[in-house]
Homo-oligomer: 254 residues x 2
């Protein structure tokens, strides 16, 4: 039985708890959070604490707090023999410095409070400084996910940037789409099937082959007309830059 | 029975044919294409021609060719009494000028040769210059789609630009993600669940509320670190511009 303490009360911590608790080989023994109020609904399921000096013994401490808070929480664990990991995409293992056994446990997904997730489909990237710890993390990750990948810190940080492009920036493009709809008294719902299909297409085609549109076709007259149509400066700037980037990708120039 | 001739042999034309042919109230009587070779596989299903002077009589001629070719094809229909429409997101009805009854029939989706589409989920935007023609288009569109929306030319052109943002540009961000993965010896598959979830989230949250990430949090230190991490100039430029646009959207400045 692998004993785990989760530190944090945000979306990653709570989704992780609900995935881990149902595995027979794993026992989540405690959740720590600065504010315990947020976790009251779990009171009957799991031991809770808001006091870092009251943490119970465990094999792994999973720190799922904001990047800025990692070092502070890790410091309270400095005398433990256990493995200490964080769930951050960008923090280095240096942030866990006082600990002897350090690692990371990075689930590559966006978590919302409102939405259940199927952890089996979420890649978990793991990292540790020795084989035994990597094995331990592998056992835990495999218990909840079907895609477990050992990676380096540099790879994890690269994945985190890539995730910003495909998640944060993509969502902002959806927002621009919704603004254009609103400005033209159109329902944003009209764009939703297209948005879904754009994502689903990757099951069949890599994004290089899937590219379509005026920039891909080097259709200068449509590009110019579109730019003139756009009223907001940031829309225009995004339109120009992304069209130029697509054009260059396919060996042409604007 | 509404008789339809489809003009064009591309993805829109062929997907439209396969959706329309199964409706009892509609009869596709002919497909025209400049090159008939491309359509040989339909030889036993439908009358084919590559000669604009051999078009058979119909109630509606649907021109599903590239924007540049619309006017040429429309010109061959100038003496017909029938309704002539195109499927373009950006062409005006002027391109159908010689015809007396003009309109547009714009399915808002991206079509690939390789992938079947469920037309019922695809919004069809329709436009005509009089009520009777709009009704006729409504009947045809409703036969294959559950979302039919009468719109103006200006609205259609705005939708087309919005579609470039949520489809073409989004796909390019997927491509940037795949480049970052490749440069770091990571499988692009790791990003696919995140990509899917980003699109699916719109079922629950509008894109303004769904926004997350360092730019949204105004987390300057992560933004700076990410920029420094990126090696390719176009990646850096996209990162900066989209982060600035997100930051401004939420009332801050970079």
């Amino acid at each position: 039985m692998i004993k785990i303490v989760i530190l944090g009360g945000g979306n990653v911590a709570l989704h992780l708890f609900s995935a881990l608790k149902s595995d027979a080989g794993i026992s989540v023994v405690q959740i720590y959070n600065r504010s315990i109020k947020k976790l009251e609904h779990l009171r009957n399921e799991i031991a809770l604490t808001n006091n870092l000096s009251e943490l119970v013994p465990a094999d792994i401490y999973i720190i799922a707090v904001t990047d800025d808070a990692i070092a502070g929480v890790a410091n309270a664990l400095k005398d433990r023999e256990a493995l200490v990991v964080h769930t951050s995409g960008s923090a280095s293992l240096e942030d866990l410095k006082p600990n002897k056994r350090r690692g990371s446990f990075y689930p590559l997904q966006t978590f919302s409070k409102e939405k259940q997730v199927d952890f089996r489909t979420i890649p978990i990237c793991i990292e540790a400084e020795n084989e035994a710890d990597l094995d331990l993390l592998h056992r835990v990750a495999s218990a909840i996910s079907s895609q477990v990948v050992p990676i380096s810190t540099q790879q994890r940080q690269a994945l985190h940037v890539a995730a910003v492009f495909v998640n944060n920036f993509t969502n902002h493009l959806y927002f621009v789409g919704s603004e254009i709809c609103e400005q033209n008294k159109l329902s944003f719902d009209l764009l939703k099937p297209l948005i879904k299909e754009t994502a689903q297409k990757l099951e069949m085609l890599d994004p290089f082959s899937a590219q379509t549109g005026p920039a891909r076709r080097h259709d200068i007259s449509t590009l110019t007309r579109h730019e003139n149509q756009l009223k907001q400066e940031n829309h225009k700037a995004i339109y120009k830059l992304l069209s130029a980037s697509i054009t260059t990708t396919y060996g042409k120039k604007l």
